[in-house]
């Protein structure tokens, strides 16, 4: 399974090694046929497996909720003092604010009402914006999905494409070049690359004029097609940053799983059948090698929502990541809690989805 390839993945500490669904996919296919036929039995086993995964996800989500409550209570500052920003405020006013945000309640009461509210989608009122947290989140979500979703599609495709080429001709000049290049970009801090791109392509340096905006999503006041072009123009630099830093991992995983397949007998069979080299690769090697990459892609999918906090901050992108950074620096407790929950939920859902879909893609795991 993927366990062997994990050290290469240390950067994504939450890439999931070995926790593959293969281990839990029900009885060995080809075992004694039951009374209801193997297909029905497999289906039942699969549904049980999927149900177990969903229950597990629900438990994880609840744990996240609990953590986000207690973790952020540890911030050693008085939220009300923060809110008033050091202005001179009377004790009565402070007490009123405390009451308004429920901070005068005992801890357990705060906890139960927090959990109850959260389950109904209410994460409280932002200290900073004085609007419901959930509105802030849903407001910033589209910008994040647009930016990181675009980058995700691009870097996954680029990583798989280059990884396949590298793995298929491993040791060749182009493989050595692409691997070295990817490893280098993999080591580059994303925010720094973003800043550098801003200096070179937005501010302009030497003979290079500033061609792109330094940040934000739009310049405002545009409609229709020109609005779309404007947003795309704003997206270029952040997307390039995210793709540059993100494609390496997919490339490396794809490359090493293709290398694992290279000596396989079924590839010799495919060649013996008279298939062209690119068909052997496309039809036979890649579908097998894609399976571990697929797991990684789902882990990354979770991060699409989690956003790229740093890149959004650097490019002043009005998404969840930028919101999180702002909320932390206040600190805007309800907003931080809400965002933390949303980020973790996205990752948990993506992982669960990967677990549930994996058996459908790999016939060996049975369905």
């Amino acid at each position: 399974m993927t366990a062997d390839s994990t050290p290469a993945l240390a950067k994504s500490a939450d890439a999931r090694p070995g926790s593959g669904p293969a281990a839990a996919a029900g009885p060995e296919p080809g075992a004694r046929p039951g009374t209801r036929g193997p297909r029905a039995r497999n289906l039942r086993a699969y549904l049980q497996y999927a149900a177990a995964k969903i229950v597990g996800a629900a438990v994880s989500l609840f744990a996240v909720l609990v953590t986000s409550f207690f973790l952020f209570r540890l911030i050693p500052s008085d939220p009300v003092k923060q809110m008033t920003g050091g202005r001179r405020v009377s004790t009565q006013q402070l007490a009123a604010l405390r009451h308004q945000y429920g901070l005068d309640q005992p801890m357990w009461k705060q906890f139960t009402s927090y959990i109850g509210d959260a389950l109904s989608g209410d994460f409280g009122i932002s200290y900073q914006y004085h609007t419901p947290v959930i509105d802030k989140i849903t407001g910033a979500l589209p910008a994040t999905l647009l930016l990181t979703g675009t980058a995700y599609v691009l870097y996954s495709a680029l990583g798989i494409w280059l990884g396949t080429r590298s793995g298929w001709r491993s040791g060749s000049r182009s493989d050595r070049f692409h691997t070295a290049f990817a490893l280098t970009l993999y080591s580059v801090p994303s925010f720094w690359l973003g800043l550098l791109l801003i200096i070179v392509f937005a501010v302009g340096i030497g003979p290079i004029p500033g061609m792109f905006p330094t940040g934000g999503l739009e310049q405002g006041g545009l409609h229709g097609f020109s609005y779309v072009v404007d947003v795309a123009h704003h997206m270029v630099l952040p997307v390039v940053t995210l793709v540059a830093v993100g494609y390496a991992q997919t490339l490396l995983v794809m490359r090493s799983s293709l290398l694992d397949e290279m000596g396989s007998d079924y590839l010799t069979t495919a060649r013996a059948k008279g298939l062209r080299d690119d068909l052997v690769r496309r039809r036979h090697a890649v579908p097998n090698a894609l399976l571990p990459t697929f797991t990684l892609m789902f882990v990354n999918l979770g991060h699409v929502v989690a956003g790229q906090i740093l890149v959004e901050t650097v490019f002043s992108w009005p998404g969840l990541g930028g919101l999180f950074y702002q909320a932390l620096s206040v600190p805007d407790l309800p907003l931080v809690q809400g965002l933390f929950f949303v980020f973790a939920t996205a990752v948990i859902l993506a992982n669960t989805l990967a677990d549930i879909l994996y058996p459908l893609l790999d016939p060996r795991v049975g369905r």
Binding site: D265, T269, R271, K273, L291
Partner: protein
């Protein structure tokens, strides 16, 4: 008509391992040739070389004439056309030779669609036909390899090999991973199909008894060379080369008490193909080696009707050396 003619085939791997060293083989249409030898003697390399399937780093010289055309010098496009349509291979270990993520029906249909310009529907019908031909229900086409038993997978491999009606089938250890009952079934199936369709067969195995049962002629390989060749029954029952003797002797005859009391296995391992011993490569393990064996390489030479062997003691009457050999042979006896 000659279907396959291999002339002076040599394969040297990257790193200097000489896996095949000057092999000559001839196979007439409809004939069945067995290639025997221990693991590491170059027989699987030989099978891959027939269709030019070796890695590009391996150096291959000689000729492989398939229907009169040299596979080793033809253009790659022609090689791909010959693969499977002219000659197909049944690989050992069908679990790994089949692609785990494709349905077996699609895998059988793949060469049909590629070589026969068939429609999807036509290919599907042909697949059903082939599966029933090898004794599997047509519905098995929808299965994945892991859903089949070892014997069923090997049947799928055979159905796949027959897909494009080739004239030659190369079976590389087709029964090695199977248990004895299934082994017999698969061998029976191969024999039946080959006879029915008048195909040429090159069967590779370490099991001389299996080959003797299935094939017309036998070639025994050692360290990348054919050391003995002849009609299957004769080679099995009365090998001329000491290695052929040892190989047929290493499978005891069931019911023969003599073979129980005189185990005739061969000590030692086949030589490292990257560092072959001088002279006859078999001499370090040979129970009847002469002094000359350590010095002179032994060529394959005629040894009676339709038989050839590469041993100094074949086709030669050196009485003095014979005696010496017997003395040495006795001297070795207590070792086992």
């Amino acid at each position: 008509m000659t279907l396959l003619q291999v002339r002076d085939l040599t394969v040297t791997y990257d790193g200097g391992a000489r896996a095949v060293r000057g092999v000559d083989l001839t196979l007439a249409a409809g004939q069945k040739l067995g290639v025997a030898g221990e693991s590491g003697c170059g027989k699987s390399t030989l099978a891959l070389a027939l269709l030019r399937l070796l890695p590009a780093s391996a150096k291959v010289t000689g000729e492989v004439l398939l229907g009169g055309e040299d596979v080793l010098t033809m253009k790659w496009g022609r090689v791909r056309a010959v693969r499977w349509a002219g000659a197909s291979i049944v690989f050992q270990g069908a679990m790994h030779s089949l692609n785990a993520v494709h349905r077996v029906g699609d895998q059988i249909a793949e060469p049909i669609l590629l070589h026969k310009r068939a429609t999807r529907e036509g290919a599907r019908r042909k697949v059903a036909e082939l599966l029933e031909h090898v004794g599997l229900p047509a519905a098995r086409a929808a299965s994945y390899p892991h859903e089949l038993s070892g014997g069923q997978r090997q049947r799928v491999m055979i159905a796949m090999a027959l897909a494009c009606d080739p004239e030659l089938i190369v079976a590389d250890e087709p029964t090695t991973a199977l248990d004895v009952m299934i082994q017999a079934q698969i061998l029976g199936l191969i024999s039946r199909l080959v006879a029915e369709q008048d195909l040429g067969l090159v069967m590779i195995s370490h099991d001389l008894a299996v080959l003797a049962d299935t094939c017309d002629r036998l070639a025994v390989m050692y360290a990348g060379r054919v050391v003995e060749e002849g009609p299957a029954a004769q080679v099995y029952a009365d090998a001329l080369h000491p290695y052929g003797k040892a190989l047929s002797g290493s499978f005891p005859t069931i019911g023969d008490p003599a073979s129980r009391f005189a185990p005739r296995g061969l000590p030692g391992d086949p030589p490292d193909p990257a560092a072959l011993p001088p002279g006859c490569t078999f001499h370090p393990r040979c129970p009847v080696a002469l002094d000359v064996c350590a010095r002179d390489d032994q060529e394959l030479r005629p040894a009676g009707a339709g038989r050839r062997a590469a041993c100094v003691r074949v086709g030669r009457t050196g009485a003095a050396e014979d005696v010496r050999a017997r003395v040495r042979g006795q001297g070795r006896e207590p070792e086992h």
